[in-house]
């Protein structure tokens, strides 16, 4: 068995048995949060990483995914889970509507436009009483596995883990197919890609729609796990930035980068919160910020870059 395969298998086993080893609810909760962050990071990565179209407005799709099921539940008292596919479809449609004008923009202009659109959604939802306004929406209270409403984090963990595996398989498939090649061509030089006959605009739109649908799925999962959403918690700028951070820290444009990023970042954040968060001093964020800065300072291409270099060095010395 080759080394990367071995690492992959070890990783998969660790993820599969994690909630069995860690018995504290806190630890299990952190596991679920890691998976949620990884899901949205992988989704963002499709357009942000592979094609380097740095969207800072993905919270729009996350928020749609989070709001639609809870809205449906609040209105009809029926199972919110059935709304997940619809939320994904809606997010893809919104992505199309957003992508058509914004993909004419390049670099920072695109990032800023997506950021502005994200802010528009926060503000819009906040002043819409039909959507719960600033106070948000709540999900089912009584336990019902079919509505993804349970007390223990463990079932959530496994549902999300299966979704993660499926999502990774999908992205791995994309990587090896035309979409993936085109996206990487766009990433290295949009102009060159265009002159070689890549339908740049169309493929950016396709990638954004896929990315949006997957982000919406992560949003739905978040909403059902936490059982409560408000404009800031799912549409906010921090949500968008968190996706960029998770994907970038691990290695944007790589399959496992976002997973690695989430596995490092979320526990760091939770640990800092639990250890230094007392008294509301904000020290936990100081540490969190410092960790991000140090990691980017020494490995701007993401941690998977470091891993590759180490392996290269090991191979060279062997």
């Amino acid at each position: 068995m080759t080394k990367p395969r071995l690492a992959l298998l070890t990783g998969a086993i660790i993820f599969a048995i994690y909630p069995l080893i860690v018995s504290s609810t806190f630890g299990q909760r952190v596991g679920v949060l890691v998976l949620l962050a990884a899901l949205s990071g992988i989704a963002w990565n499709v357009i942000g990483g592979y094609a380097e179209q740095v969207s800072i407005g993905h919270a729009v799709f996350y928020g749609i995914g989070a709001y639609l099921p809870l809205l449906y539940y609040t209105r009809t008292q029926s199972n919110p889970v059935v709304m997940i596919p619809l939320a994904m479809a809606l997010a893809a449609l919104v992505a199309l509507a957003i992508g058509i004008p914004t993909f004419r923009l390049r670099g920072h202009y695109f990032s800023m436009a997506t950021l502005a659109l994200g802010q528009l959604f926060v503000l819009g939802v906040t002043i819409a009483p039909a959507l719960g306004g600033a106070s948000g929406l709540s999900g089912p209270v009584e336990q019902n596995p079919w509505e993804l409403s349970m007390r223990s984090p463990v079932p959530y963990y496994y549902v999300f883990l299966v979704a993660l595996a499926l999502m990774l398989a999908l992205v791995a498939w994309l990587e090896r197919h035309r979409v993936g090649f085109y996206l990487r061509a766009i990433q290295s030089s949009e102009r060159a890609a265009r002159s070689l006959g890549v339908p740049v605009y169309r493929y950016k739109l396709i990638a954004l729609m896929i990315s949006a649908a997957l982000t919406a799925l992560a949003g739905s999962f978040y909403a059902l796990f936490v059982g409560f959403v408000n404009p800031d918690s799912v549409f906010g700028l921090l949500v968008s930035v968190q996706m960029v951070i998770v994907a970038t820290l691990g290695g944007a444009g790589t399959l496992y980068g976002p997973l690695l990023g989430a596995a490092i970042l979320v526990p760091t954040q939770e640990w800092a919160n639990a250890t230094f968060g007392g008294g509301g001093t904000g020290l936990s964020y100081v540490i969190y910020g410092a960790v991000i800065m140090v990691l980017t300072r020494f490995e701007p291409g993401g941690l998977l870059g470091l891993w590759k270099r180490l392996r290269f060095r090991a191979a060279a010395s062997a």
Partner: protein, 260 residues
């Protein structure tokens, strides 16, 4: 200017405000002292940030900048939070007090002075960029770092200077704002989004563009708040921004960009 999206720019403004606050509480100095002081302090901060962080981050892809400057934002904001607590503070309004009454308009002195300094400072930065050697060097580095290096320009020195100047301007803005605005560790977030919008709307790297976009944003905000309701003010700004970019992808006064 230097092709970096700095999420921590608002935090530089906050640092300027706290410099003013500290200078006032310890030495009871007025704006004549603490505004230049904030400029100097933030100039140093900008240089340190460049050499310690940004220089290496620039080697990576564009999203590394988002990551690093966001880390910096958290670090600065919550460091201030930790040291000073999240309380709102203000400088005594008598520091630069008074209101002028000109032809039916009530003008608040601190705001007038801040506006004048802002215009003068913008003009100075513009002059620096287009009329001096160091300015040309900055533009050259921004355009093509390697080519600039071949022309005998030290890109690090030039970019560090640009970061210093950029931070110093934010510091001056902060120190001036401190004379009439509340001071708290998270106040920077209020400004940075609008700064981004102003810079993008005007066109990245265009000083006159930002100077034009700033008042437009302010007017749209105030007009919307006045004619409809305050909650629509920000919505109007962001909508206008998206619409303008739709029509002019390079911003109002930005040069059209080729390549990627």
């Amino acid at each position: 200017m230097m092709n970096v999206l700095n999420f921590a720019h608002g935090e530089f403004v906050t640092l300027g405000m706290f410099t003013a606050l500290l200078a006032f509480s310890f030495w009871h100095t007025g704006p004549l002292v603490f505004v230049p002081l904030a400029a100097v302090v933030l100039f140093v901060v900008g240089q340190v940030v460049y050499y310690a962080l940004i220089r290496d981050v620039m080697r990576g892809p564009m999203f590394a900048q988002v990551l690093a400057t966001f880390g910096l934002l958290l670090f600065i904001r919550y460091m201030l939070f930790w040291i000073f607590s999240p309380n709102y503070r203000t400088l005594p309004s008598t520091l630069l007090g008074g209101t002028a009454h000109v032809d039916g308009l009530y003008l608040n002195y601190p705001k007038v002075i801040a506006a004048v300094v802002a215009v003068v400072l913008t003009a100075a930065v513009y002059y620096l960029l287009v009329r001096t050697q160091i300015g040309s060097q900055m533009l050259a580095v921004a355009e093509d770092r390697e080519a600039a290096r071949l022309m005998g320009i030290d890109p690090d020195r030039v970019q560090a200077l640009a970061w210093g100047i950029s931070a110093a301007c934010a510091g001056v803005a902060g120190a001036l704002l401190a004379t009439f605005y509340y001071i708290s560790p998270d106040v920077g977030g209020t400004f940075v989004l609008f700064a981004f919008v102003a810079v993008t709307l005007g066109g990245f790297g265009s000083v006159p563009g930002a100077m034009l976009a700033g008042p437009i944003i302010g007017l749209v905000q105030v007009a919307t708040a006045y004619y409809t309701s305050p909650e629509f003010a920000e919505i109007a700004v962001f909508t206008l921004f998206v619409l303008v970019l739709w029509v002019r992808p390079q911003g109002l006064l930005g040069r059209s960009i080729g390549g990627s």
